[in-house]
């Protein structure tokens, strides 16, 4: 297992940041995100917390470094495609925090990626905001976010390969493709896959931050209306007026793992 951690502070209030989180697609940095749907949403009557479950469809590829390590045919003949991401969110508006968790739903045997974020309202040090409520000093309103991403490869372990052996009638574990990596142990291969995941995530986390900042800037300058106007433009720039679904339906069935979490 490998971890990636990042701590960051937005110069925006917690309500704005949480709103931007729900509104973050599309933005100019999210052109790999094809669709977003709300699967479930409710306020827990006991805690007054808002629970949301969303399904995102993203364009993604298995990195060639990982493809090389997979048994033949496992990555599919073509490595371009889409992958589904499930996102769970809990907002507590009174206590000023939001918890998010996103995970890939396919290819979890090769690499399971779980991203967790904790957004928290930062109290201004001298309590000025609480006193005058005017927020004259905008910079006093801040929200911190801590991101933790966990990578776990189970390649070559457990159920998955056993099932595969049954399917193909083979009695031995298939070897990874020949080459430099063929000398690695199962643990070594898993570690390599996890490390490739980590390096791709560093970039994705930065892109996601840039996207959030654009949405936040639009919120600040013109409220929700400005965000929606910007979105329409981003969507047309990315997909044309027909929207993204044409591509979704035209593409093949292979949906490689998400490497581009944001």
């Amino acid at each position: 297992m490998k971890f990636f951690e990042n701590q960051f502070t937005y110069d925006y209030s917690f309500p704005a940041v949480s709103l931007a989180y729900f509104l973050r697609y599309p933005n100019p940095y999210s052109q790999h995100v094809l669709t977003t749907d709300v699967i479930d949403r409710y306020v827990d009557p006991a805690t007054q917390r808002l629970h949301t479950i969303r399904l995102h469809l993203k364009k993604s590829k298995i990195p060639s470094g990982i493809l090389k390590l997979l048994p033949k045919g496992m990555g599919g003949s073509d490595s371009s495609g889409q992958s589904y991401i499930l996102e769970k969110t809990i907002v507590d508006a009174r206590e000023g925090w939001m918890e998010t968790e996103s995970r890939n739903m396919e290819w979890t045997g090769i690499l399971s990626v779980v991203e967790k974020q904790l957004y928290k309202r930062l109290q201004s040090e001298d309590g000025r905001l609480a006193l005058d409520g005017l927020a004259a000093d905008k910079n006093a309103e801040q929200t911190s976010v801590k991101t933790t991403v966990t990578f776990r490869s189970r390649l070559g372990q457990g159920k998955m390969l056993a099932k595969r052996r049954q399917d193909t009638g083979e009695h031995e574990e298939e070897e990874p493709r020949k080459g430099f990596f063929s000398s690695l142990s199962t643990a070594g291969i898993q570690r390599t896959i996890e490390l490739i995941g980590v390096s791709r995530t560093k970039e994705a986390v930065l892109k996601s931050k840039q996207g959030m900042n654009i949405v936040l800037e639009r919120l600040r300058s013109g409220g929700v209306v400005a965000v929606l106007d910007g979105m329409r433009q981003d969507r047309e720039a990315a997909f044309g007026r027909d929207g993204p679904w044409k591509r979704v339906w035209l593409q093949g069935k292979d949906r490689p793992i998400d490497n581009d979490k944001s």
Binding site: L34, T36, R41, R94, T150, G158, W245, V248
Partner: protein, 81 residues
């Protein structure tokens, strides 16, 4: 607004999303957490979406993923190996 995975649900999704944003920013974030403004629109949107998820076999995958928190997955994994 972000597009739906089901093109035929885009119109109702847009209506629901707009309702949610208004409710979230004007009511929920201001402490009116028990209001239920978008319930009807959400029901319609979900009805449209669930049909498509089922047709495409995504519903089962979503259910499985919803159930799996990281800790459960860990326990499951230890059992298997």
């Amino acid at each position: 607004m972000a597009a739906s995975i089901a093109p035929e649900c885009n119109d109702i999704k847009e209506k629901y999303d707009t309702c949610f944003l208004k409710w979230y920013s004007e009511k929920y974030l201001r402490g009116n957490t028990s209001s239920n403004d978008c319930e009807e629109l959400f029901k319609k949107y979900k009805g449209c979406l669930n049909k498509v998820l089922k047709e495409r076999g995504i519903d089962v995958m979503v259910e499985d993923a919803r159930k799996s928190g990281s800790s459960e997955t860990d326990a499951e994994f230890l059992k298997k190996s």
